[in-house]
């Protein structure tokens, strides 16, 4: 594990980028000279281009938006939401998926068939469409997005965990544990799951990037995080009709988004490669991407 984290340049860069983003997201808004949500003298401050001073003499790294708010500070404020939802959403999905997958494999029979049929059916609906339907039906907001990300993302993990549990439970040490009189649930929890969880962790890591993208997509379409609370998606949406006169308003938040998703994806790729011992076979990669 230590070699995995330190021995590889890509991993170091990706981890460093994510840590930097995290620290900046926490720290930057505290040091902002102006409240990132407050709207000041709009006419004087709005649409200042990147790397320049506004009429009040304040320097803006990425310029200002249509209300004269500093884009960089808002971007970092948005990073809190996007990172939290990305990680939270995929953890929730992983928890549901692990529970369903383990139970399906462990109980077998009708429970297995029903849960896998539901997973298949949900996988047949493009996830964005499923997200749109769910997010649109309930009140848009932080909690809705979190729950919906969990509810639409568990199927992949469930199938992976199910497969792994089925494989592990056929191994002799599981029989041994049973023979020693260890209770059914304890065998699953203490002996089977820890041996079956590796691929699910990889899928969850790769899922974080996906969840961040989906959250931004929902917010972009107005069905996720609602302004004035900034998220990368709704910031991009906010600059959409300014794209011809002030493209930085829409494009700047996307750079933070791309850098973050890139870092998470690279980290997930490396994690997968090291867990698999080598490059994962093609079919496995396909299965993880859902």
């Amino acid at each position: 594990m230590k070699r995995l984290l330190l021995g590889d340049r890509v991993t170091v860069c990706a981890t460093g980028t994510l840590l930097l983003m995290l620290v900046a997201a926490v720290v930057v808004p505290f040091f902002a000279s102006h409240d990132p949500l407050a709207i000041g003298d709009v006419i004087a401050l709005r649409l200042v281009p990147p790397f320049s001073h506004d009429s009040g003499g304040t320097w803006h790294l990425l310029g200002t938006d249509r209300f004269g708010r500093d884009l960089f500070v808002r971007m970092m404020l948005a990073a809190r939401v996007s990172l939290a939802l990305g990680v939270g959403g995929s953890l929730l999905a992983a928890a549901i998926g692990t529970f369903v997958g383990a139970l399906a494999a462990w109980r077998g029979g009708i429970a297995d068939r029903i849960s896998m049929a539901i997973a298949d059916a949900l996988l047949a609906i493009p996830r964005l469409v499923l997200l749109l339907v769910c997010a649109a039906l309930w009140q848009p907001g932080l909690l809705t997005v979190l729950i919906v990300l969990g509810a639409t993302g568990w199927m992949g993990v469930a199938r992976i965990v199910r497969g792994e549990v089925l494989g592990v439970r056929a191994r002799p040490f599981v029989d041994a544990a049973h023979a020693l009189g260890v209770s059914h649930w304890r065998v699953l929890w203490r002996h089977v799951l820890p041996n079956a969880i590796g691929p699910a962790i990889v899928a969850t890591t790769l899922g974080v990037g996906n969840a961040i993208l989906l959250e931004s997509g929902l917010s972009f379409l107005g069905l996720g995080i609602q302004p004035p609370r900034p998220s990368w998606g709704n910031m991009i949406a906010g600059g959409r009709d300014l794209i011809v006169v002030a493209p930085w308003v829409a494009l700047a938040p996307g750079i933070a988004l791309i850098v973050t998703v890139l870092a998470v994806t690279l980290l997930g790729d490396r994690l997968r490669d090291s867990l698999a011992g080598q490059r994962a076979p093609f079919a496995r990669q396909l299965a993880e991407r859902s």
Binding site: A121, V133, P281
Partner: protein, 333 residues
């Protein structure tokens, strides 16, 4: 033959069961949601009883089981109901929007593979060298970028950028709609106008898709290149174009077929954003508009349509897979 036929029948039955499950899940989901569409539809000046009358009119006051039976029965007959807001049949709305989405998605999918596979091959051939590194950075970045951001970036480039840096007028591409409003163009002028409007949407979708395909085909080709026969072909003096264009391509063909089916959900998602950004009157936009208006039948209709497309694509890929598998083909002879 008997055996293969039974496999096809079994797959088909499985797909139909899956479709029925999807239809049921969508129904449950939508009816679980709070909010009453009748409230949205009556004008603010309506009398007190109007909402109730409308609810009865739309069948929303019946028990859920009755609504479900009615809906499922209608779906089987190909009738997806009537839009709450426009009062047109949902199937009519879908048929109007589908050609736009099909054209957009079809051309993009084609370009996705025509660009993605060769790029992946090139990377695998130059594995871990500068070319591969650069291409990996590029594809991974595009892969990590949200579709709507790429779309907006292209718009910025070809409107703001083209104006600021004085690019020729031909490069100032339209970024809104499907044809120039006001002008009624015929013949060639109309086609050129449509094509110019299509450049940015298609480029967005194709870029996103090709980045993903390139990532997958790079690793698929790298796997194939480790096989001994590649060395044999090389030592025989077979030209590189023949090795890659014929042998390697044939070996990754089954994976590409699967990939084609699997890339459909991503394509759907991408087209929702692209149609939203570029204001193309396709299925994605129809769905977004319906979601905002709580037009349940249209939302259900589009979702059912998308799911049917995904299920059909998977079924087709399953059936077609043996045809593309060279090992299977050689065994049959």
């Amino acid at each position: 033959m008997q055996n293969e036929l039974s496999v096809v029948v079994r797959r088909l039955a499985g797909s139909l069961v899956l479709f029925w499950l999807v239809v049921t899940i969508i129904f449950v989901l939508i009816r679980m949601a709070p909010g009453d569409p009748a409230e949205f539809l009556v004008p603010p000046t309506a009398a007190a009883g109007d909402a109730a009358r409308l609810r009865a009119d739309l069948g929303l006051d019946r028990p859920l089981t009755v609504q479900y039976a009615r809906w499922a029965g209608a779906v089987v007959r190909g009738n997806l109901g009537e839009s709450f807001s426009s009062r047109q049949p949902v199937s009519r709305l879908l048929l109007d929007a589908a050609p736009v989405s099909f054209a957009l998605g079809g051309i993009s999918l084609l370009l996705t593979f025509l660009i993605g596979v060769p790029v992946g091959m090139l990377q695998a051939a130059h594995r871990d060298r500068a070319l591969d590194r650069i291409a990996t950075v590029l594809t991974t970045t595009v892969y990590a970028a949200p579709t709507f951001w790429i779309a907006l970036a292209l718009v910025a480039l070809f409107t703001y950028g083209a104006a600021t840096y004085g690019l020729p007028a031909a490069l100032r591409l339209p970024a809104f709609g499907i044809r120039t409003p006001g002008d009624v163009l015929h013949g060639w002028a109309g086609i050129v106008d449509l094509a110019r409007h299509a450049v940015l949407p298609v480029a967005t979708l194709a870029a996103v898709g090709a980045a993903g395909i390139a990532r997958y085909s790079r690793s698929a080709v790298a796997d194939v290149l480790q096989d001994g026969w590649v060395g044999t072909a090389r030592s025989k003096g077979a030209p590189v174009s023949r090795i890659y264009g014929l042998h390697v391509l044939r070996n990754i063909m089954p994976q590409l077929v699967v990939l084609g089916a699997l890339s459909l959900p991503g394509l759907v998602a991408g087209s929702v954003f692209v149609e939203s950004v570029f204001a193309w009157p396709g299925l994605g936009r129809t769905m977004l508009v319906a979601i905002q208006a709580r037009d349940y039948p249209v939302v259900m209709g589009v979702t059912v349509f998308y799911a049917a497309a995904v299920i059909f694509a998977n079924f087709a890929a399953d059936i077609a897979l043996p045809l593309f598998d060279p090992r299977r083909a050689s065994r049959a002879t």
